[in-house]
């Protein structure tokens, strides 16, 4: 049920195999996984309990598992059935309300957290590694000395020391790819400098830093998304060969109040179809709203969904994280029977379910029933 043409991710045949091994009948939508090179036969062969059916039949089952929310087909689900998907309740209030109206017991994959508020189904690592892989790939093209032994260490500046920034550090020291790191073994390596918000807010310091940066990475979670961290004209401080790698995936939302702008002003928003933009790219301005300065440019790697670059690896990762959760979900009899005081995984599933969330009277707000507004989205 992938939605955008370039979105290729679907759950893998191995997940169908594991779920069937729990003693369940598994209905797989015909064509699932086709954009990753899987055939119906691959799923069918996963288990004797797998059947290949059409989409409507899938949606009529007791539990429906789909990565991207099937918003236009909720009506095909039965009241009381369980939907497991990326549902983003806090930022998709209408979706939440519709599910409640239809009596669908939903569990949002992006909201499953443990007792320490750590997401159990996530792929921040792929955001960093896939983004940096593309960033270094571009730098290898733009930086004439990239493959010379006498060059200085490549200097990577990462803005943001949160979860994505953390993975970006490790990835950057390995050129975004273990294969590339092995190939460049013996070359001067990579020096990674990480800046928290107290330094990114210092213009003089930041502009000095940009002058000695080969690869600039935006992994910042901004407290004020209405202002960029790097104004467009500051991009001219970067060396001409420098590459910008955008891991934050913040959109331009100029009509919102307050408006949202990208952390680095004037860079395009990439997609799975195109995620590298050279300064003279004819598509540079396509995703940048009128009025946003974009004259200063460096080669930029940007993608709204970095994990989708390597769909099989991404789905394998999700599968590893999901299996123990699904085991508990099926054992309890669906999302409607989850208990807030159950075991480790049951608690986590409950906390991500429609039952644990309530729509607030404040427009556009959904919160956990404890009253705490969730910050994950």
């Amino acid at each position: 049920m992938g939605q955008e043409p370039e979105e290729r991710r679907d759950f893998l045949p191995s997940l169908a195999h594991h779920v069937a091994n729990l003693g369940l009948e598994v209905m797989v939508e015909s064509g699932l996984g086709a954009r990753m090179g899987y055939s119906d036969r691959d799923y069918f062969d996963a288990s004797d309990r797998v059947r290949i059916v059409d989409r409507d039949t899938v949606l009529a089952q007791d539990v429906v598992l789909v990565l991207r929310s099937p918003d236009d087909r909720f009506e095909l689900m039965r009241p009381g059935a369980t939907l497991v998907s990326m549902l983003h309740f806090p930022t998709r209030v209408q979706r939440y309300r519709r599910l409640k109206e239809l009596g669908i017991e939903a569990v949002s994959l992006d909201l499953i957290v443990d007792d320490n508020n750590r997401r159990l189904v996530e792929n921040m690592e792929a955001v960093a590694w896939n983004g940096l892989e593309a960033g270094f790939e571009a730098l290898a093209q733009t930086y004439p000395g990239f493959r010379t032994h006498h060059r200085a260490p490549i200097r990577v500046t990462i803005m943001g020391a949160g979860m994505v920034g953390k993975h970006a550090v490790e990835s950057a020291t390995k050129y975004g790819s273990l294969d590339r790191a092995r190939a460049l073994s013996g070359f001067p390596g990579v020096e990674v400098t990480v800046l928290g918000r107290n330094l990114t807010a210092n213009e003089n310091y930041l502009r000095e830093r940009l002058r000695v940066t080969d690869l600039l990475v935006d992994a910042a979670y901004r407290s004020d998304s209405s202002r960029p961290l790097v104004r467009n004209e500051w991009i001219d401080d970067l060396p001409a060969h420098a590459v910008i790698c955008d891991l934050s995936v913040d959109p331009y939302l100029l009509d919102a109040s307050p408006p949202t702008v990208r952390g680095i002003e004037g860079i395009p928003q990439g997609s799975l179809k195109q995620y590298v933009f050279y300064p003279d790219d004819p598509n540079w301005r396509v995703t940048i709203p009128h009025g946003v300065a974009a004259l200063s440019r460096r080669t930029t790697a940007s993608c709204y969904s970095w994990p989708g670059i390597h769909p099989r690896a991404c789905m394998h990762r999700y599968e590893e994280q999901l299996l123990p959760l699904l085991e508990v979900l099926f054992a309890t009899g669906g999302a409607g029977r989850l208990r807030a005081d159950g075991g480790h995984f049951e608690r986590a599933l409950y906390g991500a379910s429609t039952r644990a969330w309530v729509a607030l009277s404040v427009p556009g707000k959904v919160a956990k029933s404890s009253g705490k507004v969730a910050n994950s989205g």
Binding site: N116, A161, E170, T173, K174, V192, N198, L199, P324, H344
Partner: protein
């Protein structure tokens, strides 16, 4: 069964409840269990009716024994052959202990050896390693740096050796001065923040580059996971390049061991090995005199080292360990260790099988 007064960690009552729920037939805790964290015995008793308090000898006589930090040799010898011992065993850096466990026919299951299919530790509190170590190190730097809270100073420079799991957490902690309250206070006063530079093994071997970097470093952090723990990353003589006010923080917790050949040494040469009773060492500390004479300690800065940084905040640490262990309890309690299968469909059984000492030894020799 704590090895020094500073070690206060015990599993929490919530974990006892989880043991009960997972099907434990009986649970025996040592008298005074949890007292280091001010948890009364009644809280444990309320968590499970199967729990009884007994003396240490009785605890060690059970079929399965769990504690965070591995007990000493004397207690190990009191375990019965066949006992399942679940604790931090650190197989790779404690070869003597591995040998002894094998001799005693104890079924060790190393908490630090519980890894997922991608080789990542499952029972870990690396965030606390970084946070607690960095918090202590910035406390010291605030004393040694002549302009720590001066709005006119340059950004502090923290150099982190290693970009793995500990290094990544160290970056995050360093960018916040190890304590977000300190960061907020300094930011409000207009003091410039922290610039964190991370270098991995492909740069740490370049002496001229490293010595230049060290000369501009306010805090040097060892967060390496060395492939070869018999050689230093930073020889002691390089420490001479650090500014006099610099602080050296050891997050790796690698011990010295001169009883094996070649000896195991710390990543930064000349640091004492700290514990929860003492983790700060000023240059004139007597601990330097206790190090093996083969270790050069000529160049010294204020150094911080602790075998267990998470133990500084025991309750928070045990909440995390308890939550991480809970999914394993079903297999641990209901399936004998010799039946655990590294190819099981259960990720928890696979991880337990890999962490069990006999299979670990088999995998190492195959």
């Amino acid at each position: 069964m704590h090895r020094e007064p500073g070690e206060r960690r015990d599993f929490l009552p919530s974990f006892v409840a989880a043991l009960d729920a997972a099907g434990a037939e009986g649970i025996v805790a040592e008298k005074g269990y949890g007292s280091g964290m001010a948890i009364d015995e009644s809280e444990y008793s309320a968590a499970s009716s199967k729990l009884v308090f007994r003396d240490r000898v009785d605890c060690l006589a059970q079929e399965a024994v769990m504690q965070v930090r591995c007990m000493d040799e004397e207690d190990l010898e009191m375990l019965r052959p066949g006992t399942a011992l679940l604790t931090m065993l650190h197989y790779t850096t404690r070869p003597d202990r591995v040998r002894r466990l094998a001799e005693l026919r104890i079924s060790g299951i190393s908490l630090d050896g519980l890894i997922d299919d991608r080789g990542r530790r499952v029972i870990e509190n690396l965030a606390a390693v970084a946070d607690n170590g960095m918090e202590a190190a910035f406390d010291e730097l605030a004393e040694t740096h002549p302009a720590f809270d001066d709005p006119g100073r340059a950004p502090l420079r923290v150099t982190v050796l290693g970009s793995g799991a500990v290094g990544s957490h160290a970056v995050r902690a360093a960018s916040r001065y190890g304590d977000h309250r300190r960061r907020d206070a300094l930011a409000a006063a207009g003091v410039k923040g922290v610039e964190v530079v991370v270098v991995d093994y492909d740069l740490t071997g370049h002496e001229s580059y490293m010595r230049t970097l060290l000369s501009a470093t306010d805090m040097l952090v060892d967060a390496t996971q060395r492939r070869d723990s018999t050689s230093h990353v930073i020889p002691n003589r390089w420490l001479a390049d650090l500014p006099g006010h610099a602080v050296v923080l050891d997050l790796s917790a690698d011990p010295y061991n001169f009883s094996v050949t070649p000896p195991i040494v710390k990543g930064i040469e000349g640091l004492p090995q700290g514990d929860l009773d003492q983790f700060v060492f000023h240059p004139d500390d007597s601990a330097y005199g206790g190090l093996d004479p083969r270790i050069s300690t000529e160049h010294r800065r204020v150094a911080l080292s602790c075998y267990s940084w998470p133990g500084r905040k025991p309750r928070e640490c045990m909440e995390i360990y308890g939550a991480q262990l809970e999914p394993f309890l079903d297999v641990l309690i209901n399936k004998p260790a010799d039946a655990w299968d590294t190819n099981s469909s259960s990720p928890y059984e696979r991880a337990l099988a890999r962490a069990e000492i006999s299979r670990w030894l088999e995998a190492r020799t195959s």
